[in-house]
């Protein structure tokens, strides 16, 4: 089973991104489960959403505490939310930021000189979203491109499956969302 945890701000599209991902995994014939943290859906407030993927029905219903992948949709969340909590050894954290990966001091990883037990990858998704006029400067809509980047760095799902899943969740500006998703897939640097 693969477990994914999205951290975002209310309005950024973390919950919708988790649903698109679940649908794309389903389209590839897998069992998937997606749910948000409940009750804090205020615009701008920290939110989390979870996806699980497996080849059989997923019984567990508690929130993801030991993710394989963590996605941080707003880099400044790192200051207030323990985003790497439980992140598995050999796991991966994808951060929406214009800063390089080695500029991030994440929790215990910085206490020692040894590299953190997980990969850190950054990509400027805000820029990609704005290039395709998705959202505005204050709140770029990055749920499609973030999934493109995740698909590339994780190999969890094909970008075609994500594109196939988009129309069920994104009724407007579909072509721009598709382009942003592909651009993030193609430009994210996978170290």
């Amino acid at each position: 089973m693969q477990e994914i945890r999205f951290h975002g701000r209310g309005g950024q599209g973390a919950v919708i991104a988790s649903r698109i991902l679940a649908q794309a995994l389903f389209l590839e014939g897998r069992y998937a489960q997606s749910f948000p943290t409940f009750g804090a859906e205020r615009r701008g407030a920290p939110v989390a959403a979870f996806v699980r993927a497996d080849d059989t029905f997923i019984n567990i219903r508690s929130r993801v505490t030991k993710p394989d992948y963590v996605i941080v949709m707003a880099a400044r969340l790192i200051e207030s939310v323990a985003v790497t909590d439980g992140l598995k050894k050999g796991g991966l954290i994808l951060i929406n930021s214009d800063q390089p990966a080695d500029s991030f001091n994440l929790g215990s990883a910085t206490q020692s000189k040894s590299p953190p037990p997980y990969q850190i990858i950054t990509i400027n998704l805000n820029r990609i979203a704005l290039e395709h006029k998705l959202g505005n400067k204050i709140m770029p809509l990055i749920n499609a491109p973030v999934l493109g980047a995740l698909a590339k760095v994780s190999g969890l799902v094909k970008p075609e499956s994500l594109i196939q899943a988009l129309p069920s969740f994104i009724p407007a500006r579909l072509a721009d969302n598709e382009k942003a998703l592909r651009q993030a897939y193609e430009t994210v640097i996978n170290p």
């Binding site: 409940f38 019984n59 508690s62």
Partner: protein, 384 residues
Amino acid sequence: MHKQAILLGSDAIAHGVRLSRPEVISAYPITPQTHIIETLSEMVDSGELKSQYIKVESEMSAIAAVLGSVSTGSRSFTASSSQGLAMMHEILHWVAGARLPLVLVNANRALGAPWNIWSDQSDSFSQRDTGWLQIYCETSQEALDTIIIAYKASEQLMLPIMVMIDGFILSHTMERLLVPDQQIVDDYLPAYKAPYRLDPDNSLTFGAAAHPDLFYELKKTFSETMTEALTVLDQCQEEFAQKFGRCYQPVMRCPEGDEKSNTALLCCGAMTGTVRVAVAELNKNGTPTDLIKLRLLRPFPNRELCEALKDKKQVIVLNRACSYGVGGTLSQEVRAALYNLPQRPLINDVMISLGGKEVFPETITEVVENREQLSSVECNWLDS
């Protein structure tokens, strides 16, 4: 025969309702049930579901509206949650007492105060004695299927059925399931033909007074029908299993459990999924544990539960509703049922969650690993 889908729990339930072809729907929005009736209103608006959708100003009116519509012989549906279900309380008695077949979906949510939107089973357990059958569902598939089964059983019994799903835990979770085709549902669930109904051309008296002797007689019949309901529900579930390939029973042993173990966990609702994971882990790590899922709270399946637990030495009941001053409501039910056994297991009353307090697999494994320390007299509350 069916379509593979990945749906939010609320949408899966709306499909279960759509496939059952209710002629009248009336409901009032309340978190976390709102998505169900929103999806249904969209289905009615698009013509996908041919039903009359009555907008109302409260839950009291919603249940009163469907009390009226089902009295005219129209298959009807309503849904609610928490304070909304509590507000329906008086009419819930009237629907059952009038022997009207109705299906209500309740998205389990805590009752205030303090204000809390998250899931527990206090709302529906509080309606235990209203004369409705109560069925608790573990998955969205089970919820969709149970709605269809509930209409069939309800109309055969002339008794209303409440179908429970955990608010948020099921309603707001997207998961994979099968949506049956309309044709196979139509084949299983024919149109409702009311044996008596409000009809201007054929006048009958509804809601008349009953003097003491008649009242007593009617309630005796009601109680007997409630007991027979187990047989009717079993038949409906058996026929469903044959047609749809999915089997449901009032008491279900989960395959993750060890049938021969002395210790069993018992729970109901969506939490069962997480408990399955914990039980598999316990059995793998040398702590044999059985797991029994209870689907039916009313009528209470006394005999089936005794059969499932007769060889156990310890039964740990995981509660998500409290009868304050006694303990877990489900534990009291289980104690009463197992009292009939010649050799009774120890029963531990555990308050595992209220108001959405999250249950992790570790929460369950800790309870079982420390089972020697559990009181069998007092309710066991977890350390916070």
